[in-house]
């Protein structure tokens, strides 16, 4: 369900009505935060992008990154309130088109899988939050590959696939 295009985009598809892409710029941004050495700390944030008019596809283009208000350790990441403010700013600078598409964070493992803490965070965000479509994209940046999931409220995460950046 993941495909790499010759333009460097990764496109994914859950079903007939749910698909999206990750731009090469977004992939490069996320892979910069991969926990490559034993002292690297977890990183995370929101995935930002657009919703295509014709295809309804979720177009991932940008992400918020660790900073003020976050707490980082080797195996956990606390995402502060600043990320929501940056999403509002993203919407403003893109003339009311940019929106948050989901969450990302890093893991100190080669090919990452979501932890219990991740699943609870994802469920909480879906229940209390508001998104352009019914569901969010959930990316975990491992040391070798990036794992992609899609989460709909009330359903378990669906694995879309892994790719190497």
């Amino acid at each position: 369900m993941l495909q790499r295009l010759s333009t460097g985009h990764i496109v994914w598809r859950l079903d007939e009505s749910c698909s999206g892409s990750l731009s090469p710029k977004l992939i490069a941004l996320l892979s910069k935060w991969a926990q490559r050495s034993f002292w690297s700390r977890e990183a995370g944030g929101l995935l930002l992008g657009f919703v295509d008019n014709e295809t309804e596809g979720l177009l991932g283009e940008f992400a918020t990154t660790p900073g003020r208000g976050d707490r980082r350790s080797r195996t956990s990441f606390y995402r502060g309130l600043r990320h929501q403010q940056e999403a509002i700013e993203w919407n403003r600078v893109t003339d009311g088109r940019g929106t948050q598409l989901g969450l990302w964070h890093t893991h100190p493992e080669l090919d990452p899988t979501p932890s219990q803490t991740d699943l609870e965070d994802c469920r909480n965000v879906l229940v209390t939050g508001k998104f352009a479509v019914d569901g969010i994209l959930y990316l975990i940046v491992g040391m070798r590959s990036i794992g992609c999931w899609f989460a709909k409220s009330g359903s378990p995460l669906v694995l879309l696939g892994y790719f190497t950046p």
């Binding site: 985009h9 295509d52 009311g96 909480n124």
Partner: protein, 326 residues
């Protein structure tokens, strides 16, 4: 899954060229046919004229550079037996049309009128000369002045039948899609291979044989991207050891690509594969703006790439709470 149907239709309106749309084409044709009428030898038999080629088929496009060419059929009311030497009729046509601002040359398949501006050839009009035999079959005058007498021949050539066969192959909106796809393919050819190397009529007849109208099963809207991809796959599947044969569906039943060299064929095939892959990638790309960038690389600058601001929705930032991952 981008189909970029709006962009395919805008591209089509940008490149299409036809008599109905172009007063320049109509005027040129009128002028030439008036000259023919007023100046043709009194000894010539009566004749009728008709459009043939891309304008008759509604598959004409504007050339990337220069002026568009045109094809006209001139059908004399006589039988091949009346003129055992078909060159006689072609000379009547040539002599009637010769003027200072153009040259008129008798070539084997037709009489070619070339127009000049500042000493440079700008465009040409080909006139094919026909007679009709006892069975009502049109015969093309194939000869030029340097040909020996026995090489000056009448050859079965059913240009009008070809036009109606191709026109009647599809109806209504399917026919419109057929014409859009043929025009897009021709512009791709002009852009990637060059106008002369793969004949337009070969592409058009390939589509006559292997095109299938394609539309969305839910909303019934035509999808040109998929229709073209399927047509190309059909063409590639029929490639023989090294060549694609496209048979004319009327007399003289020839292979329309027979004059292409093996090298041209190989290049044609590779570029078709690249086009097919690009169409597949564009379809896979849910980002309409990015999909159009892929398509523009194949079809050239007349294929529009809409700004992201026009291909994405107005929406809010969305809301998410803070939280912890591990």
């Amino acid at each position: 899954m981008a189909h970029a149907q709006n962009q395919f239709e805008n591209f089509h309106s940008e490149i299409l060229l036809g008599y109905d749309e172009s007063s320049v084409l109509r005027d040129r044709r009128e002028t030439l046919l008036n000259d023919l009428k007023n100046n043709i030898s009194k000894d010539a038999p009566k004749y009728d004229t008709f459009n043939q080629g891309s304008y008759a088929l509604y598959t004409g496009i504007t050339p990337i550079a220069g002026d568009p060419d045109m094809d006209i059929g001139v059908i004399f009311e006589c039988a091949p037996e009346d003129y055992p030497d078909p060159l006689t009729l072609k000379k009547y046509v040539r002599d009637a049309l010769t003027r200072h601002n153009r040259t008129v040359k008798i070539r084997r398949p037709c009489v070619t009128v070339t127009y000049f501006k500042d000493g440079e050839a700008t465009h040409h009009i080909d006139l094919a000369v026909y007679s009709v035999n006892g069975n009502g079959q049109t015969q093309l005058a194939r000869c030029r002045e340097t040909d020996a007498k026995e090489d000056r021949v009448w050859e079965p050539s059913e240009a009008r039948e070809l036009t109606s066969k191709i026109t009647d192959q599809f109806k209504d909106n399917d026919r419109k899609q057929f014409r859009r796809v043929v025009r897009a393919l021709k512009r791709w050819r002009d852009n990637k291979i060059g106008h002369k190397n793969v004949p337009s009529i070969g592409l058009t007849v390939a589509a006559y044989h292997w095109f299938t109208p394609t539309y969305d099963s839910v909303d019934g809207k035509h999808i040109d991207l998929i229709a073209m991809r399927n047509l190309i796959n059909q063409m590639l599947a029929r490639w023989g050891f090294s060549r694609l044969t496209v048979k004319l569906p009327v007399a003289p039943d020839c292979d329309l690509f027979e004059r292409m060299t093996d090298t041209q064929m190989k290049d044609f095939k590779e570029r078709l594969e690249t086009l097919r892959n690009a169409l597949n990638e564009a379809e896979s790309q849910p980002d309409t703006h990015e999909a159009c960038k892929i398509l523009q690389k194949q079809f050239g600058d007349d294929f529009p790439v809409p700004e992201k601001a026009s291909t994405t929705k107005k929406t809010s930032s969305g809301v998410s709470v803070s939280g912890r991952s591990a």
